[in-house]
Symmetry: C2
Subunit: 423 residues, 2 copies
């Protein structure tokens, strides 16, 4: 399938910071042209789309989520992180079957697609369900191990690593644990053995709450980052989610191992955890990605909301309206996330890169007048501005219609039943 999208404003997110009027061609799964002066003669396209002056840009990469947690969306919204996990989430998750994970994740995947998200970094269980769904929907998924004391083992993680890194072009798998506070030292050490055996990066929730850090210090005399570093878990890079209470010393560890921090501001607010110090991370030269976290703690999967929060919360905590500008935040949500997820071929609109492309409506009143397009994307846009979502050259969403074969009413009905089964 050869597609031409013309009459567009184009934000490539390549190093040179510019937005130009032009077009983009997609040949199969990849971008075959992007620019403003194509040689059209002799070209044959299967489909030509007039962007009508709207914006074409790389799709958002959601660098931290737990898609299957739609069961807990708007289910319990008054507890702090620790209480919420222990009293509500973990007991419900203990009853989950592979079919539950498959069905519940479908709703999240549909939401990603509608919201212009073309890939997710999904830390959860039941990789076979996630892998099946990713393949069926044609949605790019980086699976992340979520090992802890009560679910999965290093052996199952190794098995999943070997299986899902070679199962389908849209699926990859990274080593990960849930968090220090749910994972005994013996398991952490076994995970480190795996990291060294395969020379692979490692991912985990880290320093999400004050209590998590103080408990870890009490147990080990170290912050979670110091502990993981000492055990060698970060010897081949990787990254960590949340990082609200990282210390200066922790940041040095991130820098020295070239780790990414994936920030999740909406979830951190709603669970009353706090605000990550993004400006410090940037100052240190640490790569930053953005994630929505799961739908149970956010409760939407909307990268526009996250971008707005990343930028404006930094202004607030630094008491400085000039920090964390839009051009930086857009890069966190696309390139920064792609780097964190190991999706090095999906980050920009460039010839040969994956055709993970979205179209943003600039003609809704909320974007007008367009005084600065990058600012408009971060401060004014919302999911109603997503006109098209394309993954690997395949259009999944166009002008309000989901182009995936799914009985959506039946899906919602099954999800409602599942919530009752888990309660």
């Amino acid at each position: 399938m050869k597609i031409r999208i013309y009459n567009a404003k184009i934000l490539t997110l390549e190093d040179k910071r510019e937005i130009f009027r032009g077009e983009i061609w997609i040949d199969g799964e990849y971008i075959s042209y992007v620019g403003s002066n194509p040689t059209i003669s002799g070209q044959q396209f299967d489909k030509e789309i007039d962007a009508e002056g709207n914006l074409i840009m790389p799709g958002f990469k959601n660098a931290h989520t737990h898609s299957a947690m739609t069961f807990g969306r708007n289910y319990s919204d008054t507890l702090r992180c620790e209480e919420w996990l222990n009293k509500v989430i973990f007991p419900m998750e203990a009853k989950m079957t592979p079919e539950h994970v498959y069905v519940l994740s479908k709703i999240a995947f549909l939401e990603y697609i509608v919201n212009g998200i073309t890939a997710c970094f999904d830390m959860y269980y039941e990789s076979q369900s996630m892998s099946r769904l990713s393949e069926e929907y044609g949605f790019r998924t980086v699976l992340c191990g979520a090992i802890n004391n009560f679910r999965e083992k290093p052996e199952t993680i190794e098995d999943a690593f070997l299986r899902y890194n070679n199962s389908h072009k849209f699926i990859s798998y990274k080593f990960g644990i849930h968090a220090e506070y749910t994972t005994d030292l013996s398991i952490l050490k076994k995970m480190s053995d795996l990291v060294h055996k395969y020379k692979e990066p490692f991912y985990t929730h880290i320093s999400e709450t004050e209590q998590e850090v103080s408990d870890c210090k009490r147990r080990y005399g170290k912050t979670p980052a110091e502990l993981f570093d000492r055990i060698g878990l970060f010897d081949y890079g990787g990254g960590a989610f949340h990082g609200v209470f990282l210390t200066d010393e922790d940041l040095n560890i991130f820098k020295s191992h070239n780790l990414s921090i994936i920030t999740n501001p909406a979830s951190n607010l709603k669970l009353a955890s706090g605000v990550a110090k993004i400006c410090q991370f940037v100052e240190k030269g640490i790569n930053v990605g953005i994630g929505t976290d799961g739908p149970a703690s956010n409760n939407g999967l909307d990268m526009f909301k996250e971008m707005y929060l990343v930028s404006t919360l930094q202004k607030m905590i630094n008491k400085d309206a000039s920090v964390c500008p839009p051009e930086q935040v857009i890069r966190f949500a696309t390139k920064g996330s792609a780097i964190a997820m190991g999706l090095n071929n999906c980050d920009t609109l460039s010839i040969g890169k994956c055709a993970d492309v979205i179209m943003i409506d600039l003609k809704k009143p909320n974007m007008q007048p367009i005084n600065n397009l990058e600012n408009a994307l971060v401060y004014s846009a919302n999911p109603s501005n997503v006109l098209m979502t394309m993954i690997a050259g395949d259009i999944k969403y166009y002008k309000g219609k989901i182009l995936i074969d799914e009985d959506i009413e039946a899906l919602y009905s099954r999800a409602r039943e599942i919530v009752k089964e888990l309660a």
Copy 2:
């Protein structure tokens, strides 16, 4: 015109907190029935709408905005409040004509309608332009004086008060000044004379920044609220916008005069001002409304974003995830705002009230599964969930289409020209 909307979930926001399956009838500008067991026989409707199980609720009331400031949307997003006003906004506003205000406000009004907002409390100049637009679009507008040292006088305010409170059913006018820091004491005293002459409420920006409060204390030995109280400006009630740095003593003044506080969390974040202490206001029994502030400091006019921020920022600053729950925040954005604006007949879905009604799409993936509808409205919904906006029984927006006669491309083009004229 008699309209029936059936097969709906209904959130009336009457005192009894319930959501039921039912229908609503609109006769002309008013609600003629709302409930679940209507006697249909003998009824004749001009239009019947199947809500398909979606939600019908009162429209959002945007209780603080400056609609015409679309000129400054995404124009300058790196300055703190004082700098931004003095270096960018005030010089541009000095060049504005009535035609500018009329055209620029159109974009904001269209955005309100698309986003489920059925009324706004608009503090700006050129009331004749705002009034004309409000009448043409059929959009409910409460105008608010914005007097200060360099624009408008008490005499023009009195004239506007007399003229625009009787000009059109959709328009009312309240006394107001821009803020203490832009208005000399002599003008404040003249405003107080007007307040007493007409026994009318009074509105103003208040304690938006730390600097505003400390400057006022230096000038008068009082906080802005104490100064206004001493001068008698609040003797007939009213309210104030922002209130980020109100003291306990200020709150006593608000309570004793039955004033409303209108909070604007997105604007306060982006200008690095801070977070208003909403929980304290509620504890004191002070009425709270929500506003977007103008499109130059937000930069969207989206009450879903504001509701999300009101709730989650309170959780963060109080380090308690249980505070400021959704059922409270939805009431701020509808009833609380209506009270602050004097729109006492537009607050709930009840027989005889104004038919200012919106329909919310519950079938987009972001709302599923619906474990709790109020939580979903605050934590998951966004403008893409607005299916219909009706003002005074007239449908202004339905399933993606703006039903107002407007050449939108020409409007955007003129707005772009105006930005150049003001720059």
